[in-house]
Amino acid sequence: MGLFKKNGISLLKKHGFYLLGFILLLLTYQLALHPPLIIQSLASALTDDYFHWNKRKPSEKLVFIDIENTSVRAHGRWPWSRDLVAKGVAQLNTAEVIGLDILFSEPTVATHDQALSNAISRLENKVIGGVFLNGPQAETLTKDNAGYQHLLYSSLNRTENAQLIDSQRAEIPITKIREAFPLLAALNTSPDADQKIRHYPLAFWLQDAAIPNMGVQMWRLGHFVDLELNGTQALLGEQPLAVDKKTRARINYYPVGTWQRIAFTELLQPDWDPQRLAGRWVLVGVSEAGVTDMRVTPLGELPGPLIHLTFVSNLLDNSLLTDINGWELLAVLLAVFIFVIFIWQFSQPWLRLLLFFLLGLSIAGIGVAGYAFFNLWLEIFYPLVFLLLTVLVGEVWFFVMSRAETAYLRSAFSSYVAPALVDKLVKQGDELQLGGKRQQLTVLFSDLRDFTPTTELLETEELVSHLNRYFGSMIEEVHRYNGTLDKLMGDAVMALFNAPLADEDHAYHACLAAAGMMQALDAFNLPYSVDDPHYLRMGIGINTGEAVVGNIGAANRFNFTAIGDAVNTAARLESMTKEVNCNWQASKQAGEVKPCETVDIIIGEKTFAAVKDRLPCYPVIGLELKGKLQAQDVWVLDWRKMIAQGRLP
């Protein structure tokens, strides 16, 4: 059975339990592979705080030309007249790459449109115009549409089976302005389930064209390398990018307020120094609150242009994030499982819970460290959920199993041990060693003398009830002195002291129990005369020594018992009592002075050694024990004197 091993988990059926843990692991993994929206949102909420650990600053190379509050106050509400925009755009010519995160999709005053078109044209080949895919005013572009051909020209050339977000329609700049742009790019973002932006789509399908997003187009133009897409693999020049199934990269946000921002209105000031933009990559966009280009991110609301710039800056400082998913996540879950199994080996619930808590903290710590030092993104939600599930299921299992174990202990011992002791046994369950052990103990044997005639004289039913009453009072005495009833054999009683529950003074307590039994027998016999067949006589043998104790028997039928010489000797001492008593009475009749009336209890040498200073014992010299060749010294215990001394409560 192995029910009483030291370690917590080994109390349980280990394999089934581990299997259950493994099933939970696979379930968690499945959940991570196909998370429902609500789970995605929960998982992201746990890891959004990672960004507070990012102490990097965006690349110095990048500048956000911002149409913000002061610009709007200076020049009126957005949208502005396009000749005003043209004046600002004209100031950008020292920059290396220029992106316009503004959609010029509706015609305005023709001369203003022309002015902007001219300004863009003067920026030569380093400016990128924006289109908005699937926007509210998007139109379906036919293949021979010049705008579509312009987009095709701007699109990625080295794609094979690319898995991109699909769109059929696009909102593009009016022809006059579009034609001024050498290149176009998408201005789209792709929010997660909770509408927050954490991923940056590298490109989108627009019919047959793979339209790069603004950040990718800025890189293509700035570094003159192409983005190669093959299935869900992305290669930007020589640099592989970690992307998801929709070819989206996970962006790594910088602390808010660290961006180089220049208010658009500064471009229009007479003291504007064009050298401020020399060699820079700039993106012009709107952050003014009245215009709906604010995007929700884990850091709060951010102007759309900064999302494109964040991606570019991530490329520049090599800090795009790599998701830990697939096999890597499975490995993380397995590692957690190994730790959980390790923690299950501890039996104290508080220690387990403390260790589980520390494990949870470590998972969170590893998540943050992976982010801060290795640009790895671990959704700690999944390992934590797995931990929580295993802890819950594990503790419930522990509880149920310990209840079952308590019930088992109670049922197994309550008939042998005093009920008060059973409680103690249950509490001390862990320290009990019932598997088999060699130890010192005291064995008490009692038997009825001349009982066979009684059985013949009484009716069967009366005999049984008479015996049961007798055993009842005897067992009560055994239990009173912390003895364990080992077994009843016919009319004999065998009791153990110091096993299974430790008792330092086991010899003394056995003696007290024996005296108590004699006293109880006296009371039991009170209604009957000496000649009545109901009148019982009893002898008791007590011996202390080494024996093997444990659960002995077959799997379904076993008993806690003791075996060994000490046990056999106790039985023989008991069987001597009648003979010794006869000799004792004969000697008395011959006129010899004997210290006590009768011989009812005989104790062995070691028992005597333990109690000689406290209890009245008289030696019986040269007694030969049945079945034992060597003579052994034994002592008579004077139970009447013990009662007189007030030894029994």
Binding site: K143, L152, S154, E160, P182, D208, H223
Partner: protein, 258 residues
């Protein structure tokens, strides 16, 4: 980090030098093996060192190693190569490799290769290598399958990874029972519409293809078409008469070769 920066600055310098190719690159400094001679519809020409297509290329436009020619739907292009001529069908992409080889990355193309002393021309797709000795053949490279149809001369077809393939051959009509022949006729008629996109296994069943042997390469005969299943599956190839739709496509592309 340092090498990264060095790479970036090198890339930057390179970009400054190659800047002119954006929109107005016409001058060639590389060894040219091929040229774009004719185009119809939207054809994009992307130089090896550029992410962007050449704007309004002047024909004939010299092509070098790594240069791409791609067509969108309803577009077609004629590329003249030292080894012969290639007509690129719609939605296709061709990469110029060297004096003896071209690679069809995607789509379909008709090759007319002249026999040259001491030269063996090679056409490739991501899946297969086609060795050529003076010939006219059509190659199609789709996600689900690759096809090579031979109209003249001889070609040998092998897989890029060198794996042996299970070689199946259509049952000759002479060996078909009347019922089989009827079924075959019916199926070949329906196949006419969707040929090159048809799933490989459907096609295999339709052709009543019988397993012949495991081979590492197939020498294709004139008037036959070899169809290979896509990468990642157990390699198989079916040798069948040239498909009607392929024949149609060949006729259309062939017009540009005369």
């Amino acid at each position: 980090m340092k090498t990264h920066q060095r790479f970036l600055s090198a890339a930057f310098l390179l970009s400054v030098f190659t800047y002119s190719s954006l929109g107005l690159a016409t001058t060639q400094t590389c060894d040219s093996y091929a040229s774009l001679k004719r185009m119809e519809g939207q054809v994009q020409l992307v130089k090896a060192n550029s992410p962007f297509p050449v704007r309004n290329p002047e024909l004939p436009y010299a092509l070098c190693t790594g240069d791409l020619v791609q067509t969108v739907s309803k577009a077609q292009a004629l590329i003249s190569h030292v080894g012969g001529e290639v007509v690129l069908a719609e939605n296709s992409r061709l990469e110029v490799l060297d004096a003896d080889s071209l690679s069809l990355a995607e789509g379909a193309a008709l090759f007319q290769i002249a026999q040259r002393e001491g030269h063996r021309f090679v056409a490739k797709t991501p899946l297969i290598v086609i060795g050529v000795k003076g010939t006219e053949f059509l190659v199609s490279s789709q996600t689900a399958r690759n096809d090579v149809a031979l109209f003249k001369g001889a070609v040998g077809v092998e897989r890029q990874d060198g794996q042996a393939m299970a070689y199946f051959r259509t049952k000759p009509v002479s060996e078909m029972s009347f019922e089989e022949y009827q079924a075959y006729q019916k199926k070949s008629f329906s196949e006419y519409k969707n040929s090159l996109d048809q799933a490989f296994n459907d096609y295999k069943e339709q052709q009543m293809a019988e397993f012949k042997a495991y081979v590492s390469g197939v020498d294709l005969q004139t008037g036959r078409q070899l169809t290979l299943n896509s990468d990642g599956e157990k390699p198989e190839a079916i040798d069948a008469p040239v498909n009607k739709a392929v024949e149609q496509l060949q006729k259309q592309l062939h017009l540009w070769l005369e």
